[in-house]
Symmetry: C2
Subunit: 345 residues, 2 copies
């Protein structure tokens, strides 16, 4: 029951903790919740510490439920284990073991604290993605596509506006909100002139990451005008300089998917969304670094030659090597369909 | 309650009544079912007559529930209205009015029979397709596609076997069972050498309809060997003659979708399934004569150049004119997805 409550805190904070995992903590005493904590932002206090701050002296002899094993290391904040010991918490119930940590549980036990692991399949899966990203030093990456049933994102005239409907757009805003950054190609920026914002009340607009190998950029485009928002350009052009302070240029020797994602992770982006044209989309889907794939299908057939298929590659692979996902959810969004896929890791 | 029972009889007999609609009838007396009837085959007794035969003298003063308005015309069988009057049934409750008939209800009322229409949305939709087909003189047509998520039915090596899985194959057998005929291109027969059968216990294998404009046919292929099964070849080649009596050749001036479907309807095929390669599939999907579209998606991305997209057309249409369906059902078949679409008529 309390672990489910702690899991809700994790769901709430997805997309705002950078390369850190969202964590939720609940302190319970005498059958009542006396403290609630969540890790809100990279650099901020951890969930356990927030919960202890709320519970104050009620922490003493209380039980803390926490979604991930409390840490015992000094990162940007002091160890949670120390805070737990100091607050004289009696029992720690955590769900997922942090494979990157050692000795945390033992340390608490040495101080007479009862430590119990309570398994939770959903949380195991959730954190497995963080460990995976941490190990490879790449963000958790989602590709989003809006397509016709025959896999096209535009007709042969390159007409693509409103393949899917207004309700899908709203859903995409929610998807953007849960990511730190949106990766898109410069061609998409130039063609569609998109804002790449989250038009939801109090929604978070992710940082636009614009890919341009050549680095030939028209800085008069709308997206560069809003100086309240950081923008990153990734390029192979050593000489590219941005004329604005809110635009940062990352130079990479080679702009491939792996290098782009590693650079973004190293810059603190823990969860990125790829929302672009077929070229960038295909490159990301063709890599092994995409964990989530959200496919909005309009119940349409576009036909034509298929110049704008969302997945088109230079290499031809045998069928048994084709990219495989697992469908974890199908939803109707008015007359459109939303299919959610995951890659098994 | 009894209309739902009658509707079950309709569901059971879909795909075996040719150009006639399946109809179910239930005769009720003293709170018990005393007669059950269904139209089983074009030329056989209608549902009402079958039910009266079962109920015998119990029909007198009984109520008959029938899914479609009883007919008053001589077709291949005498009018049902006459049988109802003769059996001295007291009350007729039917669900859908047969727009192609006139005066049936009045005739029964003239004989002192109470006639009530009990609306049923599912049956209305079901029979609307029959009226539509009857009006246009074309069969109810379903296109079936097994595709990757990016709309491809094969990779660039034309490798296509088992895009979807064994469970999908089983589901396709059920789909075949509910159709009178399977339309396929000669190229598909030549390439895949398929049996086009329904390997279900006591399943019905639809008549193969092989399209070959040129009429250049290799009659040594497996499909022609089974002489217990009728096969139809549709061609623009006036001189094509089949070397077997179980193979019939239909000559058409022009083998387009409309001409093919009209010819098949005139030959007694009321419900046909298109199961072919991209060429034939695209032509049918591009016509306005396809009412049902069953799409099996494997959770795969195939990529390549897209030579084998399931929908590829010569004409490019503006997005607002793209072919539109309504998704009426999404199902998981193991790791594959089955999407069922309908065209609004």
């Amino acid at each position: 029951m309390y672990m489910d409550a702690a899991r809700e805190l994790v769901k709430m904070t997805v997309g705002q903790t950078g390369v850190n995992p969202p964590v939720g903590a609940i302190i319970v005493k005498g059958g009542e919740i006396v403290g609630i904590g969540a890790h809100l932002k990279d650099g901020d206090a951890h969930a356990e510490v927030q919960a202890i701050r709320m519970a104050k002296e009620k922490s003493k002899n209380a039980t803390i439920y926490v979604t991930l094993e409390p840490c015992s290391h000094y990162g940007k904040t002091p160890p949670c284990v120390d805070a737990i010991i100091e607050a004289r918490i009696k029992r720690v119930i955590f769900s997922v073991k942090d494979r990157s940590l050692k000795g945390c549980t033992d340390l608490m036990k040495d101080h007479g604290i009862e430590v119990i692991q309570e398994s939770n399949e959903a949380l195991e899966q959730f954190y497995a993605e963080f460990f995976h990203g941490k190990q490879l030093q790449v963000p958790i990456t989602t590709v989003k596509v809006s397509s016709s049933l025959d896999g096209k994102v535009a007709n042969d005239f390159s007409e693509s506006k409103w393949i899917t409907n207004k309700q899908v757009k709203e859903d995409v805003f929610k998807l953007r909100h849960r990511h730190d950054a949106i990766i898109t190609g410069y061609q998409t920026i130039k063609k569609d002139n998109p804002k790449l914002t989250t038009r939801l009340r109090d929604g978070k607009s992710p940082t636009p990451i614009i890919l341009s190998r050549s680095g030939i950029i028209d800085f008069s485009l709308d997206i560069f005008k809003d100086d309240s928002r950081n923008i990153i350009i990734i390029t192979e052009n050593k000489r590219l300089r941005a004329p604005y302070t809110h635009v940062t240029v990352f130079y990479l020797d080679k702009c491939n998917v792996e290098n782009i994602l590693k650079k973004l992770y190293a810059s603190g982006f823990g969860r990125v969304l790829v929302e672009s044209g077929p070229n960038v989309t295909s490159q990301f889907l063709n890599s092994d670094l995409v964990l989530h794939f959200t496919l909005y299908y309009a119940p349409k057939l576009i036909g034509g030659s298929g110049r704008y298929q969302f997945f088109q590659t230079e290499d031809i692979v045998p069928l048994h090597e084709s990219k495989l996902f697992t469908c974890v959810k199908t939803e109707h969004i008015e007359d459109n369909l939303k299919l959610t896929f995951k890659k098994e890791i």
